[in-house]
Amino acid sequence: MLHEPATPAGKDPAGPYKVRLGIWMFLAYSLFYASFVAINLLFPLAMASIVFAGLNLATVYGFALIIVALLEALVYDWLCRRKEAYYIHAEKTAGTGKG
């Protein structure tokens, strides 16, 4: 017996789109994260620069990494849901199960 899913998932025509989208969004965030690490390593004193409301670059960038993660996640979910809805609608209208 193979390892079938705990709950069978139906066919997902939006799957390839979501994978591509996920990889691009992952790369975008990775670049943002890598820049943070790079600034720390190459220009550590820049992290002490005051950039906003008395807060330094380290604090602002750190908070930004957390907030941007959430924003990207929400955008990703919205785009995925839109694509899933498109295929569900196409399936209903075509009645063939293909979008």
């Binding site: 550590p44 670059l57 604090t59 750190g62 990703y76």
Partner: protein, 628 residues
């Protein structure tokens, strides 16, 4: 009050488990809560799983002692969820059934993958279990006044009861409850910190008078230091590694240790706190340890925006951080030195060190980003492991199987990112709050957040401690479910092909949970005193090295073979554990000179993660593709 609230929480958790236990009849219910958990509940339960003792106790403690460097853990742990959401969540949900092994083996049906992935799950789970159990002991000691070992034993017994009664369903609801309460009461604590404001003489709301540490004038005659103030006699002068000089002084028959420091050409001696073992009897600050003579809590501001004896009220979240960031703000932090004195007595000295706000609020106090290339590489290695580790933690991965669909897996991850991200922002305020409110136990930073709560009220302390205890309970439960799944499901059922009906599978899982719980209790007692966050950071590195290359490559590289996956898991585990075992931090723990460590890095990820990826690619190319 503390005991009442603690008992209430424990009874609530066990009651919930017994109630849900009646519904756990099948292996799907036991290992994956029947795949019926709502994504919103699962998202908060993710947060509950993830915000373990390391996050709540460890990170707050680290920020309280090393400032922004501790917050780097918050940033890295949260960023790791991006890998989980964009790369792993939905595909993994489609592939797997109960365990991490199910997912990586889904397309291969390989005995090699089953064995190596199950071992990997066990190794990572145990690496993660140790700090949780240590954290439990640390927490229960002051809360209930019982020894560390009894605390660990109690946690183990409760967790085994939870897991053995209902498995993933009860673990999920315990995590949901705990995750929600943790975020709510951490917000309350942060609000209280900001409203209280900043002062150079924190007195815990008038409950504990501020202790003014003494400074003495001294002079140097050759190598010898003499005290200029009268009444003090120098008993011993001790210079230790790094050029630090400590003096044992005697006054009125009491011997205490002082640290020597020179500033602007003037030599001064600063009062420290000390623990000395005289013939196995513990002495604290020159007197035998007792209920009334314990180490004083520490941490205060010396200057606020350039003013001694200052106060800063009417703060908001931004102005609190801005005041802390100012180069004119100075914090009295505390460092530790260990040595043996002339009477062959073990001495631990906690000595003050003044650091300006701009140094506290940027990386560099612990991670030497301005140091040598090796020190920079170590920092890079840590940030890489934190980023890559989350999506490879077995107890996180199995939570994807508790929801009904891949879309639910995605949504629950987003809820988790929101909850965890919000909490991690709070950690900066809680850590800094503990740093300046006299809420730090100099011997154990792990209690920073609960002690900060105590500085406001006993009720808040009791609630926060009970939640922290539930944090440990929930995380340990999740880890034990993951580990029992690896043994009972992956090894017994899949690898050894022992014939079991559904009922027997559940029983095998419960028996395994009992055994692993026992091992966790033992390790929790043995590893007493080790740094909680440090251990969790290592667990992340092992998980990222052993599991992530397999997950990523099987999803995105069509030439990946079963042998390639199995080889990469083995290389990931062995290389990361070997690098850790011979690292400077571990050499310190062995009681040896860290400079003698053959591996110069404390964090193995920068070597072991690429090595595991390369192994997978090379072995896959060398072996024929054998998909089932």
């Amino acid at each position: 009050m503390a005991i009442f609230i603690f008992v209430f929480f424990v009874v609530l958790v066990i009651g919930l488990s017994l109630y849900l236990g009646n519904k756990t009849k099948t292996s799907s219910a036991y290992y994956a809560a029947g795949g019926k958990i709502h994504w919103g509940v699962n998202g908060i339960a993710f947060a509950g799983d993830y915000l373990s003792a390391a996050s709540f106790l460890g990170i707050c403690g680290m920020i309280a002692t090393i400032g922004y460097d501790g917050f780097l853990y918050s940033i890295g742990y949260l960023a790791g969820w991006i890998v989980a959401l964009f790369v792993v969540a939905e595909p993994l949900k489609r592939l797997g059934k109960f365990t991490f092994t199910d997912a990586v083996d889904a397309n291969y049906n390989s005995r090699g993958i089953k064995l190596t992935a199950a071992i990997s799950t066990l190794v990572v789970s145990i690496c993660y279990l140790i700090p949780q159990m240590v954290g439990a002991g640390v927490l229960v000691e002051p809360l209930l006044g019982i020894p560390h070992a009894w605390g660990v034993l109690m946690v183990g017994a409760i967790v085994i009861t939870i897991v053995a009664t209902a498995g993933m369903a009860s673990t999920t609801y315990v995590q949901f409850l705990k995750g929600s309460l943790l975020i709510i009461f951490s917000s309350v604590l942060v609000g209280a910190v900001v409203i209280r404001g900043l002062t150079t003489q924190p007195d815990q709301g008038g409950k504990v008078p501020f202790y003014e540490y003494t400074q003495l004038s001294a002079a140097r005659a050759g190598d010898q230091i003499t005290v200029s103030d009268t009444g003090w006699n120098v008993v011993e002068q001790k210079e230790i590694k790094g050029g630090l000089v400590f003096l044992k002084l005697e006054k009125d028959g009491m011997e205490t240790w002082w640290s020597a420091s020179e500033k602007d050409g003037e030599l001064s001696l600063y009062e420290t706190q000390s623990v000395v073992f005289k013939k196995d009897v513990k002495w604290i600050n020159g007197q035998p340890a007792s209920e009334t003579n314990q180490l004083r809590q520490v941490g205060n501001l010396e200057k606020i925006s350039g003013k001694n004896d200052g106060e800063a009220g009417n703060l908001n979240l931004f102005s609190f951080l801005a005041t802390m960031t100012s180069k004119d703000t100075t914090v009295r932090t505390w460092k530790t030195a260990n040595f043996v004195d002339s009477a062959e007595q073990k001495v631990t000295v906690y000595y003050p060190s003044l650091v300006t706000g701009d140094r506290i609020m940027r990386p560099g106090l612990k991670f030497k980003v301005e140091g040598t290339w090796l020190e920079k590489l170590d920092f890079l290695s840590l940030m890489l492991a934190l980023f890559m580790g989350t999506a490879a933690l077995p107890h996180i991965l199995i939570r994807y199987y508790t929801v009904p669909s891949p879309a639910s897996a995605r949504k629950s991850t987003i809820v988790a990112i929101a909850a965890i991200g919000f909490f991690y922002i709070l950690t900066l305020f809680m850590g800094l709050g503990a740093m300046v409110n006299g809420s730090l136990n100099p011997a154990d930073s792990n209690m920073a957040a609960p002690l900060l709560a105590r500085s406001f009220s006993e009720l808040l302390f009791a609630i926060i401690s009970a939640i922290a205890f539930a944090t440990v309970l929930g995380t340990v439960s999740g880890l034990i479910v993951a580990a029992s799944g690896a043994v009972a499901h992956d090894l017994f059922d899949r690898y050894l092909k022992i014939k079991m009906d559904d009922h027997q599978k559940v029983r095998a899982g419960k028996i395994t949970a009992f055994v692993i719980g026992g091992i966790a209790i033992l390790l929790g007692i043995l590893f007493k005193g080790m740094n909680v966050s440090f251990l969790v950071g290592l667990a992340f590195a092992v998980a990222a090295s052993a599991n992530l290359p397999a997950i990523i490559m099987l999803l995105f590289w069509k030439k990946t073979t079963a042998k390639g996956i199995a080889a990469s898991i083995v290389v990931g585990i062995v290389s990361s554990l070997t690098l850790i075992a011979f690292s400077p931090e571990l050499y310190t723990l062995y009681g040896r000179n860290p400079l003698d460590a053959p591996i110069p890095l404390n964090n193995p990820g920068i070597v072991s993660i690429p090595l595991s990826f390369i192994t997978l690619v090379v072995v896959s190319l060398l072996t024929p593709k054998a998909k089932a």
